[in-house]
């Protein structure tokens, strides 16, 4: 079925179930309890989970399979956003054409950049992509927003104004991105006891795209094409010696991952019709690298996990302030309470980047395979313990 192995199908089913039931699963705490702030089941955050999941899946196709570390992938995301908003401005608020245009434009853009950057490999490739992305950022931020040729609207960000043509925009249609009249912003709220679950149109719209993207990347990884890409990572020179020109393959991988980024950018514009240059900055490119690494480079599910993990921390950690901390530790004696708050304070709230950086260093140092590897290690450890319990002797550690 779907030309996948049994194992892959079960993984796909798990992903589908998890994304579809996310509004329930991410809302485990009643909305009036003190733990409600750990709930991630609100539309804004769930949209980010899936959108950045797409971005990271795409990035993984390039970095995870071919080993080419691009430090400028955010440029494609930004271009996608701009393209989508231009579609809103010129045609209508319908998201479908906007997303399609975003993917196409990002694809073309990545053909251009990929063609040039892929002439070099290793660190030079990273620097070249970084240079291109920074150039795009500078262009979007200032150069292309001059009055005579305003493509990006500079610092303010590109958005739809009342005097834009929007030729297919009808009066009956919502003044917000919509899918044939169904507004992206509409949310169905379901109250069940103390819990409140929110079902957002934009979330499900993006989630369907993420499932498609995930399926596609699965097929890609399992295909002969994916095999060649992994061969590029292992030993490109040897591949060249077999008479295979790897350039078209790496370029294809680059463009595909660029299109994924464009899709993510288009969807970002679908949830909020605004595109800013800061989406293209190199720190944004660093973030997607981080997501992929944290989740597990080269694995299927890793990038999604990493994206979810980072976006969750970003939203939840940054919300924790001193008052919340005092509440948590209120059961302790006063002095110790203050001490605990003092210790934790630098890592949460505004300082959550510190946690992020530390986590990143720890993961790269001790767990290069990311969360997925961590999970596998725990699994092996668990299995070993069980088997050793049965056999009554310590199990030998498996060879690496």
């Amino acid at each position: 079925m779907l030309r996948l192995t049994k194992k892959d199908i079960s993984l796909l089913v798990v992903v589908i179930v998890l994304t579809m039931l996310a509004p329930f699963l991410l809302n485990p705490f009643p909305s009036d309890s003190g733990l409600a702030q750990f709930n991630a089941g609100y539309p804004d955050l769930m949209q980010k989970f899936v959108i950045f999941g797409i971005f990271a899946i795409g990035f993984n196709i390039l970095f995870g399979l071919t080993g080419y570390l691009s430090f400028g992938h955010a440029a494609f995301l930004g271009v996608g956003s701009y393209a989508a908003v231009w579609m809103y401005k010129l045609v209508s608020y319908n998201v479908l054409p906007a997303v399609v245009l975003a993917v196409i434009v990002a694809g073309l853009f990545s053909v251009l950049i990929g063609y040039v950057s892929l002439r070099r490999s290793g660190i030079y490739f990273s620097i070249l992509t970084l240079a291109f992305a920074q150039m795009s950022f500078a262009l979007a931020y200032s150069v292309l927003s001059n009055p005579s040729f305003n493509l990006t609207n500079g610092e303010t960000g590109l958005q739809v104004y009342a005097n834009d043509p929007q030729i297919f925009h009808g009066d009956h249609l919502p003044n917000f991105p919509h899918l044939f009249g169904l507004s992206m912003g509409s949310t169905y709220k379901m109250a069940a006891g103390a819990w409140e679950f929110q079902f957002n149109v934009a979330y499900y719209f993006c989630a369907i795209f993420m499932i498609l993207a995930f399926y596609l990347s699965m097929r890609l990884v399992r295909s002969p094409f994916g095999l060649i890409l992994r061969a590029v990572k292992t030993n490109q020179t040897r591949l060249n010696y077999t008479g295979l020109n790897t350039r078209p393959y790496t370029l294809a991988a680059f463009v595909i991952s660029g299109m994924y980024a464009g899709l993510a950018g288009g969807l970002l514009a679908a949830t909020d019709p605004l595109a800013g240059a800061e989406r293209m900055q190199w720190t944004a490119s660093g973030e997607v690298v981080l997501m992929t690494i944290l989740g597990g480079v080269g694995t299927l599910i890793g990038p999604i996990l990493g994206a979810g993990f980072i976006k969750y921390l970003e939203n939840i950690f940054s919300k924790i302030n001193d008052n919340v901390l005092h509440q948590w530790f209120s059961f302790m004696p006063d002095g110790i309470e203050d001490l605990m708050v003092m210790i934790i304070h630098p890592f949460v709230g505004k300082g959550w980047h510190l946690t992020l950086g530390l986590m990143f260093m720890l993961v790269v140092t001790f767990l290069p395979g990311g969360l997925v590897e961590g999970g596998q290690r725990i699994k092996t450890w668990w299995a070993n313990r069980k088997s050793s319990d049965k056999a009554g002797k310590p199990a030998s550690t498996p060879a690496e």
Binding site: R120, G122, I123, L128, A138, G357
Partner: protein, 343 residues
């Protein structure tokens, strides 16, 4: 003619900063083979050494109620303007005024220590890992360092003014026989340029004329053989990491008066410095310096009115454009050596 000279001068100070950071990056890359994305953070820490020293010297600004006594029963006010107390009113205030140049002395040991700790504590474990891992872990370290500085000093830029005697501008056009007021230039930028020149000269002289430097150079070209000769090259390379950190730090210290330090100044410079290193040629020290000045000057020439009217926005993208062209036409960079990062 005078306009071009002015732009060249304008490019020199930025070029000096690029050159110093790129020099440190290249030293680290050439010796240890590590791509250090935390180098910008070292530049930033250097700038904050100056901020710290300035804060320490101006502790007197904290007004304390004279009626309060400290635990010895003496009035606290005694220790408030302590530089003034120790050296007298006039000397004290001039010490505070000269805090940025004084910070050089303060920054060298601090930066050496930071560099040493970084190499021993973290980077040492990454020699045998792929470059991607090195980039990523140092990128994480850069975030951490940046956030630590932000935690202690806040997110806003902090003014670190230059001493009064060198903070004005001079008319250097007169010296070169141009008309009056043709080229007005801030003195501090000239100081910065001279300082950068001195540092670069010192590093090159150190590598060229000392036995230690000779060993380093030998180690850069063939690490294994130097090791076989019974020299503990790792120890010396660690020292060089300290030197590279100090060079970046000093670049930061002196850059304070040009641009008030804030916590993300390192990141802003890092990207450009990497571009500079690549343009100069990975692993080539003269290449890094040359490319630093070249790109700095190109950037300032591109910001002139005639350049921006010809090609709008050229000043924003010139460096990246040059980098792309250089990388595609001369893959090894301007002065890159054969066999370094060929792969």
């Amino acid at each position: 003619m005078d306009a071009i000279l002015l732009q060249i001068l304008n490019g020199l100070d930025k070029g000096s900063a690029y050159a110093l950071i790129a020099l440190g990056l290249t030293l680290i890359f050439g010796t240890l083979g590590v791509v250090n994305f935390a180098h910008g953070a070292l530049f930033m820490i250097g700038a904050f050494c100056a901020v710290t020293l300035q804060k320490v010297l101006t502790l007197s600004t904290i007004s304390i109620d004279p009626e309060k006594k400290d635990f010895l029963g003496q009035p606290l006010k005694v220790e408030t303007p302590y530089v003034h107390n120790w050296f007298g009113e006039a000397t004290g205030s001039s010490i505070i005024e000269w805090s940025v140049p004084l910070a050089i002395l303060f920054a060298i040991p601090v930066m050496m220590a930071v560099g040493y700790a970084m190499e021993r504590g973290l980077i040492r474990h990454f020699y045998n890992r792929p470059h991607a891992d090195q980039i990523l872990v140092t990128f994480g370290l850069a975030i951490v360092l940046q956030e630590i500085v932000k935690y202690f000093f806040g997110a806003n830029p902090i003014q670190t003014p230059a001493p009064d005697t060198v903070s004005g501008s001079i008319d250097i056009g007169l010296m070169f026989g141009f008309a009056e007021n043709a080229i007005i230039y801030p003195i501090w930028r000239l100081v910065y340029f001279a300082f950068a020149f001195a540092i670069i000269g010192a590093v090159f002289a150190f590598l060229r004329f000392t036995t230690f430097g000779m060993v380093i150079r030998a180690g850069m070209s063939d690490r294994e053989t130097v090791g076989l000769l019974g020299i503990n090259i790792d120890k010396r390379f660690t020292f060089m990491f300290g030197i590279a950190a100090a060079v970046a730090g000093l670049a930061g210290v002196m850059y304070g008066p040009i641009n008030p330090p804030n916590y993300h100044m390192g990141m802003d410079f890092l990207v450009l410095s990497f571009v500079v290193v690549v343009v100069g040629g990975m692993g080539s020290l003269p290449g890094a310096v040359l490319a630093g000045f070249l790109l700095g000057i190109l950037e300032s020439i591109a910001s002139t009115a005639w350049a921006t009217t010809m090609i709008p926005g050229i000043n924003q993208i010139i460096i990246y454009l040059v980098a792309i062209i250089v990388l595609l036409t001369r893959p090894r960079g301007l002065m890159g050596r054969k066999g370094v990062m060929e792969e």
